[in-house]
Amino acid sequence: MLIALLALIGVLVALYLTLYKMGVIGTLVCQVGSCERVNTSRWATFLGLPVAAWGLATYVLLLALALAGLQGIAPRRSAWGLVLLSGWSVLFSAWLTYLELFVIHAVCMWCVTSATLMLLIFISSVVVLREELRGA
């Protein structure tokens, strides 16, 4: 349940940033840090798509896996999927955070929120997978 909730919040954060990149939202609400500087930097795009859009797709997948698990659909596969996808995303978020701190020299509070959500999802997913493996 926690994973689904975290993934849903992640979907909303990533959707907000994606809409900004698409120009639907003119200005980011950003009380802390320099969100615009980060999101208009050249590192805000990955393989031709905005990083926020990749994040949105990832969170949607994580939400789908979490809900599948809750419904009892292939629970172990769902748990493995959650661990692998969130694990990869934690590494990707770590790289983005490194870029913010040491290359762009600006921090985006939405990006930090997303990185924290992803880390929490990963930790929760590992716990869930362990329970699944024990229950087998």
């Binding site: 349940m1 994973i3 689904a4 909730l5 849903l8 919040i9 979907v11 909303l12 959707l15 907000y16 809409l19 120009g23 639907v24 939202i25 003119g26 200005t27 609400v29 320099s34 615009e36 500087r37 208009t40 930097s41 979490a66 698990g69 809750l70 419904q71 009892g72 629970p75 769902s78 748990a79 020299h105 600006a106 869930v128 329970e131 699944e132 229950g135």
Partner: protein, 245 residues
Amino acid sequence: MVRQQRPANTKWFYLGLGIVAVVGVGLIARTASHDSAASAVTDVKATPAQAEGYLLGNPNAPVQVMEFADFECPACGQFATVTEPDVRKRIVDAGLASYRFFDFPLVEVHKNTLPASNAAACAADQGKFWEMHDRLYYGQPDWNTEATGNPKKIFLQYAKELGLDVGAWEKCFDEQRHLSRILGNRAEGERRQVRSTPTFVIGTKMIPGAISYDQFKAYVDSAAQQVAAHGAARADSQSGKGVTQ
């Protein structure tokens, strides 16, 4: 997660999840509509009174474009360095539109933006506003608030690079000679309810955000069609008058 986390109150969880989704999407939609409200039709006849901006291109071009921008805003920098060169070459130089830049310094968040506007205004005295405009945007990471507390040193360097009379430029900069002009430009933006930078007024439309070249061109084309249709309607009404007389 799965077996253990399927208690009887699962439906309450889904309800909660649904509420979070609805509230979240609602907040995002509210932000988006707040911005798109600004992209509604604006009063194009409301010509600037004190504010004159900085003109590029033919002032009698069929479409008038206004840009409200902050020199330190990254999105403005992105537009100026990535999109604007194409806009100048293919739209302004081609005579499709005139382009007028208005300072909209967000002094509340950007400490060095007002000095940058000053630097550009003083370069305008020597006929090099656009050269300084470009230099400031291309060098934005070198003089923004994060980079330095004393941007004048860098602006002086730019003035030298652009071949300005540095003494005259520096005197103008130190006196903040054009502060009222800059604040007038900002006031014009406020009067038009500019809420973010960059914001463009293209014909009768106000568009916030660093739009792409294709979007920019589409707005210019649409404004040109509007102007042409308006002109044709006026011609019709005048010829109609002629018949009745």
